[in-house]
């Protein structure tokens, strides 16, 4: 069975032929498109290391069959930084030491970008922790992660205010 997909990956249209409907989005990205930023931790939806944005929403790439996503817009960690440098969430993770080994970090950052777009956590650390609970960190960098997300929330809010002014 040969299936042709058209995907917008990090702003670039890609025509992708796959020969097997079993391929997950995570395997497609890592094994066929050389985008190894999204990590495979558990491969079962339990750790969040594979988090990417699909049509602007954070999801677990390991549980999504690629074939179901024809026409989707996918953003991975590789597509986050802009021409003028790191995304505010990336910068905040560095500033607040939101990691140790870094394995969970692409997933944490993509999840945080999704969380900030959802807009349900505000500046409440408790809500940030709760809404980031789909991302595990074996190094236990949670404190820095929470601070980074709160800091990025402030930065993005300030930018939004400047843009509005």
């Amino acid at each position: 069975m040969s299936l042709s997909l058209s995907l917008n990956i990090n702003g670039q249209m890609r025509a992708v032929d796959i020969d097997d409907p079993r391929i997950t989005l995570l395997d497609l990205l890592r094994e066929r498109l050389e985008l190894t930023g999204a990590k495979k931790g558990c491969d079962r939806g339990q750790c969040g290391a594979c988090t990417v944005l699909v049509d602007g929403k954070r999801i677990n790439a390991c549980l999504a069959l690629a074939v179901t996503l024809d026409g989707a817009e996918i953003t991975t960690i590789e597509g986050l930084a802009g021409e003028d440098g790191l995304h505010p969430v990336q910068a905040a993770f560095i500033h607040h030491d939101g990691f140790q080994c870094g394995f969970c970090t692409p997933g944490q950052i993509m999840s945080a970008v999704g969380l900030l777009a959802e807009g349900h956590a505000g500046d409440d650390p408790e809500r940030v922790r709760e809404q980031m609970s789909g991302n595990l960190c074996r190094c236990g960098a949670y404190r820095g992660i929470t601070e980074a997300v709160l800091d990025a929330h402030r930065t993005l809010n300030a930018t939004a205010r400047e843009d509005a002014a």
């Binding site: 079993r22 549980l63 999504a64 069959l65 074939v67 650390p125 809500r127």
Partner: protein
């Protein structure tokens, strides 16, 4: 994962026709099905992708005041719908206490109702499991069964149904709309999941090919909106299945309970409506003694199925706590930790 064919039907009729073929399975968000296929516990020959079927992703208010939710509405969208939150706050809270933000963005209403048990032996193809392989036995009976059922189980299967969403939905008398080869029909959610008896492999009342198209919540259920909670005890604060959970809704007339809606989760193979406990409360005062009596009544038939006698007392306590919280009133702002019995009063932090 086994090899399978993949089709994406354009209409409900096409989907039903395809899924009526033996070996076919509907694929919605895939967060449960793909997981089970990776481990080999389920091996469908053909996946019928319903995720893009038109018209099934709407939240509609009916002329009679009831709610109709399309089967493909994502868990996150349902939970954050402002009117759903206002009129059915326990539904919203239950959804937000389940899984993770990533999974809730993908998981659908229909898939949530039909998700499989989390019994580890069901997932492990090397284990005996009557639910997965009829007649093979049940390795949970003598195995790790701390989280298994205390109500409605049999010696053939002691699994629980893991959905959070289903618990408030049964308390609110939700009805499922299904479309099958024989046409459409409505099924009370309370009867969707049969108790195991000696046929635990018959997991739902749906016939082959039947598709859930929507869930309806009747208008009467809005009457408990001001006094409704969902509480869930888990092994960790967030992103874990319920050990025991409870939905409670009260309609009060002064200090007297006019109507009570109660259901338990994590205790049986179906979301467990606690009708005896409701009857014990209705017409009486909303007091601590009444709540304790109701909890006794709700668990009167409970028996441990293994290393889980603690769940019976835990269920009593969580039911009482849910009733107390419901009596105090639905919180104006959604708690930071949805459904957590450890969530401190508003303002205080769970972690300093």
């Amino acid at each position: 994962m086994n090899r399978f064919d993949y089709i994406r039907p354009a209409s409900v009729a096409e989907a039903v026709a395809a899924a009526t073929q033996p070996g076919s399975a509907y694929l919605a968000g895939g967060t449960n099905l793909v997981d089970l296929m990776k481990g080999g516990a389920l091996r469908p020959d053909c996946l019928v992708d319903i995720s893009r079927l038109p018209g099934l992703d709407r939240i509609e208010w009916l002329a009679d005041g009831g709610l109709r939710i399309g089967a493909l509405v994502r868990n996150a969208d349902l939970a954050h719908d402002a009117l759903v939150q206002a009129r059915f706050p326990a539904v919203s809270e239950a959804l937000l206490s389940g899984a993770s933000a990533q999974l809730r963005n993908v998981a659908t209403l229909g898939g949530n109702l039909l998700q499989q048990t989390r019994c580890p032996y069901f997932y492990d193809t090397a284990s005996a499991c009557n639910r997965r392989a009829p007649g093979s036995g049940c390795d949970a009976l003598q195995g790790e069964n701390r989280s298994h059922a205390v109500l409605g189980w049999s010696d053939h299967c002691i699994a629980t149904h893991p959905s959070d969403l289903c618990v408030p939905l049964v308390a609110l008398d939700a009805v499922i709309e299904v479309q099958g080869p024989q046409g459409s029909r409505g099924i009370p959610l309370e009867t969707l999941h049969p108790l195991p008896g000696d046929t635990p492999h018959l997991e739902t009342m749906l016939s082959p090919g039947e598709l859930i198209t929507a869930v309806r919540i009747p208008a009467e259920a809005i009457a408990v909106a001001g006094h409704a909670r969902y509480l869930k005890v888990r092994e960790r604060t967030s992103f874990a299945f319920a050990l025991v959970s409870a939905a409670a809704g009260l309609e009060l007339d002064g200090g007297v309970i006019r109507k009570a809606r109660l259901a338990l989760g994590g205790v049986a193979a179906r979301p467990w409506r606690a009708r005896v406990a409701e009857a014990a409360l209705e017409g009486g005062p909303a007091t601590a003694e009444a709540f304790a009596r109701a909890a006794e009544a709700a668990l009167a038939d409970a028996r441990p199925s293994g290393d889980n006698a603690f769940k019976i007392e835990l269920a009593r306590r969580i039911l009482i706590r849910a009733l107390q919280e419901a009596l105090a009133g639905t919180p104006e702002q959604r708690p930071a930790l949805p459904a957590s019995p450890f969530a401190p009063p508003s303002g205080a932090r769970h972690v300093a």
